[in-house]
């Protein structure tokens, strides 16, 4: 038997209307709900960023008072990381495309999957309600002790923030279990390890990192809750570094949790839009796995100025520099994929080029500040703000938009306006560099991060003004994206099943896919099954 056919059970048929969404266990609907949720938090956290940039546009501004300013950047960071980037990439793209790309009808535990979404949404609501009604956390997304202890953050908003983070952690851990099992046991016949799509490899590595990093943060959060409410003394004695260790044991891998899926998206989009196979696919997979493992060995580089022993510091300087190697390997893989290809310069490819050109800067600044002595000068300056935005905006956000444009026709069954998409890209690319490049210089000039305002005689005014103009340019680009979304919703132009001549299984089924994904589970005979099908290869057509 070449393929297995499972009859669709009648109770699996979609319910219509709102209940169909609330009660759904379909991985595609769950994925879309993740994406909508994440996008709402993206807009919210982005608006907070605009308040931050307006406040800093000129010296001595008093748009918000310092305490409110602290609350705003706390929620900006928390929202962007835990409620936008991770839910969008892992929950959204992961849920929607991981099962389809390996030829499965759903994830291994569909109901658990829906539960993960609702608990993540619960975490988001808990945190935003606490934010909207006041009494907010103001201890930054890192919540360093003793600032976050009951002595210095007596407000209940801090506890609510911690609770929200614990919930978000549970949601993403359960989601990761689901993905791992799905990849282990539900691949289509013939999908051997080297035929697994790059995005799925990235998601597998991401899932491992979520699984093994999140629990340590959860333990730390529980300990902090106990400290604040039960009078325990984990973080109130001579033990302040304990929080930093446990927090960064999660939060450094979290950077890769946010970037690896975006890298997976780029590895899918580039070959399709360069009309070439991915250059050195095995090297991409191996470097992904290496990043996944090395990502757990670098966290102390966040703590070089917190007082760690010299031996430990040297070790972590070394590992931090080493992790740049697999990342560099990937950069060359992507560049050589485009090299000599016939580039189809549509929005998804442009977003990928945006990813490559900005992420590489974030990677290089990362190696620079990995050196302990340099780091002690750059630590907590705007240089660091520039660095991680080049990684997480230049990396993750450009990757997210590459994926959104690439897969939008598949998900909604209609084409987007490519001209508007290009406008979006141009505005976002220039806006991004305008915002964050000057921050490198501001940091070198000594501007500390997280300050609510600064004096005029510091010489930071010009850089900050440029950054603010850039931030509003980014906001404008997002507005263009929203207009494009509206146009897609109104568009009558149905997307074909395979508008890009893609490589992976999702392009072999209708747009949007039916609830059961595949009428007949396909048999995979190479790493590019959709290409095989187009070329009249042996893979049978999936539907009709």
């Amino acid at each position: 038997m070449a393929s297995i056919s499972i009859p669709v059970r009648s109770q699996d048929k979609a319910k219509s209307g709102l209940l169909g969404w609330l009660a759904t266990v379909d991985h595609k609907k769950v994925g879309l709900m993740y994406m909508v949720m994440a996008f709402v938090f993206f807009i919210g956290s982005g608006l907070l960023a605009l308040i931050i940039r307006t406040q800093l546009a000129a010296p001595g501004m008093t748009l918000v008072d310092p305490n409110t300013y602290n609350q705003i950047f706390t929620m900006h960071g928390t929202g962007m990381i835990f409620l936008f980037t991770i839910p969008m990439l892992v929950g959204g793209f992961g849920n929607y495309f991981l099962p389809i790309m390996i030829g499965a009808r759903d994830v291994a535990f569909p109901r658990l999957n829906a539960f993960s979404f609702w608990i993540t949404l619960g975490a988001g609501l808990v945190m935003s309600i606490a934010f909207l009604v006041g009494d907010r956390s103001a201890a930054a997304w890192t919540a360093y002790v003793p600032l976050s202890t009951s002595t210095y953050s007596p407000q209940s908003g801090m506890d609510i923030w911690l609770l929200g983070l614990i919930l978000a952690g549970i949601g993403s851990t359960l989601g990761a279990v689901n993905f791992m099992v799905t990849i282990f046991t539900m691949r289509a016949p013939g999908m051997t390890a080297w035929r697994i799509p790059m995005f799925v490899w990235a998601m597998a590595t991401t899932a491992v990192m979520v699984l093994l990093a999140t629990p340590v943060l959860t333990a730390a959060l529980v300990m902090l809750v106990a400290d604040r409410n039960f009078s325990t003394q984990f973080f109130t004695t001579s033990n302040a570094r304990l929080w930093q260790h446990m927090f960064w044991f999660y939060s450094h891998p979290a950077v890769y949790i946010m970037v690896l899926p975006a890298m997976g998206v780029v590895s899918e989009v580039l070959p399709v839009f360069s009309r070439k196979p991915l250059f050195g696919a095995k090297a991409v997979v191996i470097s992904t796995a290496l990043i996944g493992i090395l990502g757990f060995t670098t966290w102390v580089h966040h703590m070089f100025v917190s007082g760690v022993s010299p031996a430990i510091e040297r070790f972590f300087i070394f590992t931090t520099m080493v992790i740049a190697v697999p990342t560099g390997v990937k950069m060359f893989n992507w560049i050589f994929t485009m090299w000599g290809g016939s580039l189809n310069l549509k929005t998804p490819l442009l977003m990928c080029i945006g990813f490559l050109s900005t992420f590489v800067i974030g990677g290089i600044t990362g190696v620079i500040q990995a050196a302990g002595p340099v780091d002690s000068y750059l630590h907590n300056s705007y240089w660091v703000v520039a660095h991680f935005h080049y990684v997480l905006f230049g990396g993750s956000v450009f990757g997210i938009f590459a994926g959104l444009y690439y897969w939008a026709p598949k998900m909604v069954g209609r084409m987007f306006d490519d001209k508007l998409g290009k406008l979006h890209f141009v505005l976002m690319f220039f806006g991004f560099n305008l915002t964050f490049f000057p921050m490198h210089i501001l940091g070198l000039e000594g501007m500390p991060r997280r300050i609510a305002t600064y004096a005029g005689d510091r010489g930071w005014a010009a850089g900050n003004l440029v950054a603010t103009i850039g931030a509003f340019t980014i906001a404008l680009s997002i507005l263009v994206f929203i207009i494009n979304l509206v146009k897609i919703a109104r568009s009558k132009e149905a997307a074909p099943a395979d508008p890009w001549e893609g490589n992976t299984l999702e392009w072999m089924i209708p747009s949007p896919p039916p609830e059961y994904n595949f009428a007949v589970i396909p048999t995979v005979q190479s790493d590019r099954p959709a290409l095989d099908a187009r070329n009249g290869g042996v893979t049978p057509a999936a539907h009709h």
């Binding site: 535990f109 791992m180 999140t214 325990t232």
Partner: protein, 210 residues
């Protein structure tokens, strides 16, 4: 259901795949749980180290702590033995399920529950002794008690939950729900229980002996 029918029972293919998925899923879940315990053990070790490094009054406290500790070492050793024995009973219960030995399954699961309750009772006695010596948690806890009660309490919570799960499995076993072709639930409960045992082996050495 009639016992003699047991060998004619078959699972659907989907149910078999579901069982395999659950087993994979539970292993992966346990790997995540392991890191929670790693975090708590790490916190315990670091707290202990920082208390050792600190002022003389704290050293005095540590001295008192060790005295209290040797006092309860016999109790903790018995508890360790109890938990190891319970793990053996779970293995025997799974073997019984594999052989379609319903009575054996029920018997060994019941024995596991008894062991779980004894362990929790032992822990309650230990906590009472420590509290009577002034090591509190909810009010005015010291650094060492914070780490100790959080770590062992979190483990005790796992034993408690495991015992509850075992009661549920036992109830279903009495209704003949498990047989040689379908005992994944018993196996998964076993994985959880052995994991709790494994963590205790580490806690026993790191917290009580070193």
């Amino acid at each position: 259901m009639n016992q003699t029918n047991v060998h004619e029972r078959r699972l659907t293919r989907a149910a078999e795949e579901g069982n395999l998925n659950r087993k994979y899923g539970f292993w992966i879940f346990l790997s995540s749980e392991f890191l929670i315990f790693a975090g708590l053990i790490g916190a315990f070790v670091m707290t202990r180290a920082s208390v050792f490094r600190s002022t003389s009054s704290l050293e005095e406290f540590v001295q008192k702590w060790w005295e209290a500790n040797t006092f309860s070492l016999a109790l903790v050793s018995i508890n360790t033995f109890v938990l190891l024995a319970s793990s053996l009973f779970v293995v025997l219960a799974i073997d019984a399920a594999r052989r379609d030995d319903q009575r054996g399954l029920v018997r060994w699961l019941a024995a596991t529950i008894v062991m779980g309750v004894i362990f929790l009772g032992g822990q309650a006695v230990e906590y009472t002794l420590l509290v009577s010596e002034g090591h509190t948690y909810f009010n005015n806890a010291d650094a060492f008690a914070s780490a100790f009660f959080t770590l062992t309490g979190f483990h005790g919570l796992h034993v408690f939950v495991g015992t509850l799960i075992c009661i549920g499995v036992l109830q279903r076993a009495r209704k003949n729900a498990y047989w040689s072709g379908n005992f994944t639930t018993v196996e998964i409960f076993g994985l959880f229980w052995h994991f709790v045992d494994l963590v205790w082996v580490l806690i026993f050495t790191i917290v009580y002996l070193t």
